[in-house]
């Protein structure tokens, strides 16, 4: 199979660097170029010494590499629409970061323009390619637990805002400046926007969609942020499954400009755990554990060193397969729309102080 000529664009998203190894090693890909959002992003990109040329102008990148077939949009949420349009108009396949947009009208325009030209548009929800999640899905599908009655899930991390400032900017993260509630000094665009995975996973695990959600925002851990960093969500699916989600930035971090060892203050920088109650039993699952541990450099602080890195390999494999074999990715724009709509409903619930029906 001819390798897919691929590029990256933006280079400001927190997941940007996670693609480098896969794009370089996967023989089904030929990573030919990158295009940074600005000089600052280019400077950070160059630290990693990928050997792949980096441009600042997408037109220039395409004129130098007219054979680019696919682009990873590794950018802030408010840049996705314009970049997706740029790709669709040129028939270039798209791998979008986890939130294409929170503006549902814009979202529908994205669906329309992608379908019109027939390009692949895959959404990056990497948990699907995690081996623990694969086992979890098998266990549930086997029926051992019976019908699922309740799912509690965490998607908690440190806050990436110091390295990726757009994630603390309401306009760049949420798309516009919307207060969390009347008179609130905080705005939509924080931890919730960073953590769609558990909203997506429960739909896969149950085969059901959201019926209603209620969301409660807690006092921020980081006083400086103008977006939410602590919140909890409860609700029900249409099949009656109850759920409780914690998508907070509840793990404190050193305020590094570039992610590096010593980033975490709390020993474990990220956790996706699920507790599932079924009619026939219970299951607890840590999607990123167990791991290895140290208290060495740079801070001599007890630290969880992750041993899980498979996600981007499987994700890129699927993307290539969809491009070459004209398939629809599992996580496509249409599938993901209900997840994004639910996340918007969570914000509406905070604003109105009541449960929101979907």
């Amino acid at each position: 199979m001819k390798p897919v000529k691929i590029a990256m664009m933006g280079m400001t998203h927190g997941h940007t660097r996670k693609y480098y190894q896969t794009l370089l090693e996967n023989q089904k890909l030929d990573w030919v170029a990158s295009c940074a959002e600005d000089e600052e992003a280019k400077k950070v990109y160059e630290i990693y010494q990928t050997g792949v040329p980096c441009y600042l102008d997408p037109e220039k990148m395409l004129s130098e590499h007219p054979d680019i077939e696919a682009i990873v949009l590794a950018s802030a949420n408010d840049r996705h629409f314009e970049q997706m349009k740029f790709c669709a108009e040129r028939g270039i396949h798209i791998l979008s970061m986890k939130i294409p947009t929170f503006d549902m009208e814009e979202y529908d325009q994205m669906i329309e323009m992608v379908e019109k030209v027939g390009v692949v548009c895959q959404i990056e929800l990497e948990m699907h390619y995690n081996p623990v999640v694969k086992r979890l899905q098998q266990e549930i599908a086997s029926g051992k637990l019976g019908k699922l009655l309740s799912v509690q899930a965490t998607n908690i991390t440190l806050s990436p805002v110091w390295a990726f400032p757009w994630q603390g900017n309401p306009e760049a993260s949420y798309g516009k400046r919307v207060p969390l509630g009347d008179g609130s000094g905080r705005f939509r665009g924080g931890a919730l926007c960073d953590h769609p995975h558990i909203f997506d996973l429960i739909r896969w695990l149950t085969g059901s969609d959201f019926a209603s959600v209620f969301t409660q925002v807690a006092p921020n851990l980081r006083k400086e942020l103008e977006v939410e960093d602590m919140l909890m969500v409860v609700g029900k699916l249409q099949d009656g499954t109850a759920f409780l989600f914690d998508p907070s930035w509840s793990r404190l971090e050193e305020r590094l400009k570039v992610p590096a060892p010593g980033w975490e203050i709390f020993p474990k920088r990220m956790e996706v755990n699920l507790t599932i109650t079924g009619e026939k039993g219970m299951l607890m699952c840590d999607c990123f554990g167990p791991n290895v541990y140290h208290n060495g450099a740079p801070n001599d602080r007890y630290t969880v060193q992750y041993t899980y890195f498979d996600e981007w390999i499987g994700l890129i494999d699927e993307f290539v397969d969809c491009i070459r074999n004209r398939k629809q990715p599992k996580i496509n724009l249409k599938w993901h729309r209900k997840t994004v709509a639910c996340m918007n409903a969570c914000y509406d619930s905070v604003a109105k102080g009541k449960a929101i029906a979907l």
Binding site: S212, P219, M230, L244, S248, M282, G289, Y302, V304, A355
Partner: protein, 236 residues
């Protein structure tokens, strides 16, 4: 059961010289019958060593500016609403603040998830379920998240409680976690009931405080059922 508990209580009373009292079975758990005829609802979780230490961490400002209590408790059978209401009392106890609002979502008698906000602005979530197979030890987790620091009764990067001793023999795996030398031989559940009774006898002011808290727990349980039924928050 009460006979064994009272023998242990008598041992402590005799050793430390405190007034008479007897542990009796009540409608919602154990109670302490005082010599003046009054009864005190026992709240054993309020004397459980790990929660006492967590409270010290909060009260002593080891954690600064608590934002959120994140609790979970899963059992083999029982009532998830009552379980959640008791967990909420633990949050109230640790936060030194009453509950302002509860929103609850249940699934029959199997699961109960609640979000609560406290008068002092702190937030709490409680996840409860009762579908562990019969004979399985309860599983719980209590985490307190603050601007400065996180405290928990579970080890980082683990999902289930650890034990003090693990033995592998022909009879399989056995684990032991003994928590009280003076009351050695009682189960942990029994230890905390005796310690709760002893605490009230040693500090009589707890009697009113705990009866008041027990009444609040009943109120939380009623609110949980109402919130789930109406799909609305209950504001106190």
């Amino acid at each position: 059961m009460c006979e064994k508990l009272n023998a242990s209580l008598d041992f402590l009373r005799d050793k430390y010289g405190c007034p008479a009292g007897m542990i009796v079975a009540g409608s919602e758990g154990f109670e302490l019958a005082l010599s003046n005829g009054k009864k005190v609802v026992l709240l054993p979780w309020r004397v459980e060593r790990r929660f006492v230490e967590l409270k010290k961490i909060v009260d002593g400002k080891t954690l600064e500016d608590v934002s959120t209590f994140r609790f979970a408790h899963f059992t083999a059978g029982g009532d998830p609403v009552k379980l959640a209401a008791k967990e909420l009392d633990l949050a109230v106890f640790l936060a030194n603040s009453p509950v302002r609002q509860i929103f609850a979502v249940r699934n029959g008698d199997s699961a109960c998830n609640i979000l609560a906000s406290l008068e002092n602005g702190m937030s709490a979530s409680v996840e409860c379920g009762t579908r562990l197979p019969a004979g399985t030890e309860a599983m719980d987790r209590h985490e307190i998240i603050a601007r400065r620091g996180v405290a928990s009764d579970r080890v980082v990067d683990t999902q289930v409680p650890q034990s003090s001793i693990y033995t592998w023999t022909d009879s399989g795996l056995r684990t032991y976690t003994d928590v009280d030398t003076e009351l050695f031989g009682l189960t942990n559940e029994q230890v905390w009931v005796v310690r709760a009774a002893f605490a009230v006898l040693m500090k009589p002011a707890l009697a009113e405080e705990w009866n008041h808290a027990a009444a609040a727990v009943r109120k939380y349980a009623t609110a949980i059922v109402a919130s789930d039924a109406d799909n609305k928050p209950v504001i106190f």
